[in-house]
Symmetry: C2
Subunit: 179 residues, 2 copies
């Protein structure tokens, strides 16, 4: 049976989200997978309970899916989109296969402005420690991917359009199809 992959990411917030979803689903099909894109659920965003409907539709898709490919490219801050990260955790907890990519190959600490060092420890402007293990994002996600699927895929160089370049997404599909 064709394996289903849940396509998580802040892609849904982009102005051309529907088109990006179409491209991702088409790439999935080319690799023999059934791509499930959150916007495929026909929910009226103006409905009174639209928010809850979206949640249930996404959770139903995740429960149906065999795996997740999460877009962990930083969104509105130095880390991945919160909704996407929640979904990655949910799928890991469910024991599903977890794959992800991040189109910003910089390490997390290099995205934080105004870091100082105190006794060999990196500190942000608010006095909080900055994780400094050379990872692209929080260690929980990085090692979860190693354990539950495959290491995070990053491009060698940041693509000119980090939201529409799907080379790293496609690499996730290559890895998934080899499993």
């Amino acid at each position: 049976m064709t394996k289903a992959i849940y396509l998580a990411g802040p892609d849904v917030f982009l102005p051309d989200a529907v088109e990006i979803g179409r491209r991702k689903v088409a790439l999935c099909a080319a690799y023999g997978f059934n791509g499930l894109f959150p916007l495929d659920s026909a929910i009226d965003p103006k409905a009174r309970d639209a928010s809850l409907q979206i949640f249930h539709a996404n959770q139903t898709m995740m429960d149906r899916a065999d795996a997740i490919i999460a877009n962990l490219t930083p969104f509105r801050g130095p880390s991945a989109d919160a909704g996407t990260v929640y979904e990655l955790g949910y799928m890991a907890g469910k024991g599903k296969r977890c794959f992800a990519y991040c189109n910003d190959p910089r390490i997390y600490a290099d995205r934080i402005v105004g870091i100082t060092a105190s006794g060999g420890i990196k500190i942000d402007r608010d006095g909080s420690t900055v994780e400094d293990f050379g990872h692209v994002d929080n260690l929980m996600m990085i090692h979860a991917l190693d354990l539950h699927g495959a290491p995070l895929v990053t491009p060698t160089r940041m693509p000119s359009d980090i939201w529409r370049d799907l080379a790293s997404f496609e690499q996730c599909l290559t890895i998934a199809s080899a499993r």
Copy 2:
């Protein structure tokens, strides 16, 4: 048997993380719970594989725990800390009880600087849609809490010290002990 609660949050990055952990664990004990704070694992942050050790220690604690109380106060951006959100998702996926608080009671959209409206839809400076359902953070977390535990706890007013005020944390314990 005493129920164990995993205490997730960016608290671990604060300069007085150990003291905050002690206070949280003491409050858990006062409510009859065994609080599991990530920093309780004795890991040398300078060890070669410290990052992986921390991941395994946290995952082991989560697997042992019956519930999670996540601190979803925004961290380095308009959303909750990515590691914390991953852990919330993981626990939801495992079918554990999920509780959380956020010491910033503003709705998510009100934390984004430079929003414009286009056809009734809120857009950020990068042209991405801003979720606008009146929630404090991404809808996946908000509804996951409703479904897997209890609604997100927020204070009526932002406390003067958002990282050390534990009134909303304690309210999570009150709710958890009533279940």
